[in-house]
């Protein structure tokens, strides 16, 4: 990979990698570190990217995912990465900003569910691309995504129009009134 190709890839995909890491960690400094490490990996080991196996973007997001999970494991030694014990709690709709409530709900998901939701809903990767990025089977990704969406449905139910008293609350402008 030439310097020009690297710079082009950096300018093209840095936002995507940053947004993913930011959503996964909730921290801008952690997201910056992740972007650094992802592109340093590309710079040092460009041969690891195989265009036959997928796009460069999904490859970079896969590296970012591994780095974020590694960081998570370092910080949560005794917590399970899986989602068997996760019990979704409905958000408290009275506590302000809608975007923040949605963000907190997504970030409270177990890491393996969170990553598939972010890759599918926000980065708009296909199931095959997600499967390559998270090194799992397509079926596994599909079921994780299904469980994640079910959990989000329950957590965000208080924000739905059917559960919001008319005249008191509205989600149309992004805030709860």
């Amino acid at each position: 990979m030439t310097e020009a190709e690297f710079q082009k890839a950096f300018e093209q995909y840095k936002n995507s990698v940053y947004r993913f890491a930011w959503r996964m960690t909730g921290s801008s400094s952690a997201a910056e570190d992740t972007v650094q490490d992802v592109f340093l990996t590309l710079l040092r080991l460009p041969q690891r990217f195989d265009p036959m196996r997928g796009s460069l973007r999904s490859f970079l997001l896969g590296i970012a995912r591994n780095l974020v999970l590694k960081r998570w494991r370092d910080e949560h030694h005794w917590e399970e990465l899986g989602d068997e014990l996760f019990v979704p709690q409905p958000v408290d709709a009275a506590t302000g900003d809608l975007a923040r409530l949605v963000g907190e709900a997504v970030q409270s998901l177990p890491p393996l569910q969170r990553e598939v939701v972010i890759l599918a809903e926000y980065e708009e990767l296909s199931l095959e691309e997600i499967a390559r990025a998270v090194e799992s089977e397509v079926g596994t990704v599909k079921s994780r995504l299904h469980r994640a969406r079910e959990n989000l449905r329950r957590m965000l139910a208080p924000l739905g129009p059917a559960n919001t008293p008319k005249g008191l609350r509205s989600i149309s402008n992004g805030t709860i009134k």
Binding site: K14, N15, V17, R19, E121, Y122, L159, G160
Partner: protein, 139 residues
Amino acid sequence: MEPLNDNELNQLLRRWEAPDAPQSLRISSVPRVSLWRWLWTGRIHVPVPVGVAAFVFIAAFWVISVKTKSAGPGAPSPVGNAVHSVTPSEAPPQQVTPKPAPVNRERASPETPPHPESAALAGFRPVSPFEPKVVGVVK
């Protein structure tokens, strides 16, 4: 409470927007954390076998150094005593060999001359009198 349908959930998820990467973000191959900060906040991951080996090595070194100190720098070496106790007149001729006695070079100092060919009693001090103490009642 009615659960959200797919459309409502997608609409809600879209509300959560993430910022773009800061413009100042550049890739540099040098570490971004200063050495001084790293010395205070950095972490070093050491594999367990390496850590255990290092601990055993340090502990063994410490034990050996403590034992060496407790023996004292002026303590007579058993090897030295053996050499001094054998005089040419006492030893049979065939046992007197020109082989030099082993010298503890670490303890060698200008005040301690090399082992003489013949025994000199100038610095000889007899052992203190042996005074046994009987403990208990003798019937």
